[in-house]
Symmetry: C2
Subunit: 247 residues, 2 copies
């Protein structure tokens, strides 16, 4: 950790689950949409199924079977599968766009904005998400996430957890892998980052999925293990800011 | 303009000369470096010659004779040419890096931060510079430029004024070309952007180069023609902010 504090110049963040509560936000939006449109479904199940189509969609791209495709497009394709599955027919193009961009309107965890604001005083902070740039940019504006830079899979043209997704992001910041720290709530993401030399911070997000059985503890000896972004800031030696509570 | 105000969702900015005073900043840094190291030269001439090597360096990449190469690398190569030309020998690797990263430490024009802060309340704001992401990110942190997103030549893998440099940036923001406005102090940049359908704002920067003979007026009927970023905000219908003067 002493080394990490001295060497790290930038912290890049996994976003879905780590910075924002994707599940609660999708449920919130789908509930409101369903009420307006007269659709009644188990929206928690809908949210989980939508997220469940996330990895298979990206795997087509990672495997090379499909050319580079941004997450908004994959989200739209998986939404259409779900609408069919749930018998939600007759939606307009405008409504479909509204639903696809639910992922642009996810709410942050309560400590996210305050913790990021602290970290930004000492480090470059940015996204290292599989979400595309347009998605991340609009999410950040709505949620007031104070990123210095929006990076991730799209500018790297590689989805996590392929090595290129991490290494190309380090390169785009003119950094060696050990000068870059990934902050994530998912051990598998951190493991892939550590394998190519990045520093790692695990933030426990036990409310990402109710009843979740993984990611309830650090699976390895990550550089930082904590329960909030303030914990990351503490570990990285960033003082508290006047007027910004710890939540 | 009525149309532009309604349709534009994001404003991307040329940076060298439009947002920051590259010439004054290079002179300031080279003067300080020269004093410390005992080099006496005409640093204004040095700055102009360094910038003069900018287009030929990028042209190698644009023409396809050379693979994608970020501006920091081109800046380093042109610096080495200049150090030789000026007989500045014996510099350490640390000193060379310090000089190359002068371009990371450029000062903004007086209206830049205030005007951007206003525009950010209504629009996505970001960079569309030939400078690479690491350069732009560090410049923004030092100068407190409140970008929502750092885009430009590097994520597009195309230097301006090629059409791809503009179109890929629109695409990365999920925008049609007419939903994106380029703000620049250089008519040639705006002309290239307009040719592929972007909206355009010309900001007069008569102090970019003393005695400059070009870019002292709009060469075409751009959507916005003004003399500061506050003028862009006025034209785009963004109210003044309490506590942020017009400079």
């Amino acid at each position: 950790m002493a080394n990490a504090k001295q060497q790290v110049q930038a912290l890049l963040f996994d976003v879905f689950g780590t910075v924002v509560d994707w599940r609660g936000s999708v449920i919130r939006e789908m509930t409101a949409f369903g009420e307006g449109r007269g659709f009644k479904h188990d929206w928690a199940k809908f949210a989980d199924e939508w997220r469940g189509l996330y990895q298979p969609g990206m795997e087509e791209v990672r495997s090379g079977r499909r050319g580079w495709t941004i997450l908004d497009v994959l989200h739209r394709e998986s939404l259409l599968v779900l609408l069919d599955r749930y018998g939600m027919t007759g939606l307009s193009e405008h409504e479909i766009k509204h639903l696809v961009t639910i992922w642009h309107r996810l709410d942050p965890w309560p400590d996210a904005v305050g913790g990021l604001t602290r970290l930004k005083t000492r480090y470059i902070i940015g996204t290292l998400s599989n979400g595309n740039i347009g998605l991340m940019t609009r999410m950040a504006k709505r949620a007031r996430l104070p990123w210095d830079v929006v990076l991730g899979a799209e500018p790297a043209r590689a989805y996590k957890p392929t090595p290129e997704a991490y290494l190309r992001n380090a390169e785009m910041l003119n950094l060696e892998p050990h000068e870059l720290m990934l902050v994530a709530a998912h051990n598998s993401d951190l493991a892939a980052a550590a394998r190519v030399g990045l520093r790692t911070a695990f933030v426990l997000r036990p409310d990402e999925r109710p009843g979740q059985t993984i990611d309830l503890a650090a699976s390895q000896d990550w550089d930082v293990v904590t329960t909030s972004f303030h914990g990351v800031a503490d570990a990285m030696g960033v003082p508290l800011l006047r007027g910004i509570g710890r939540v």
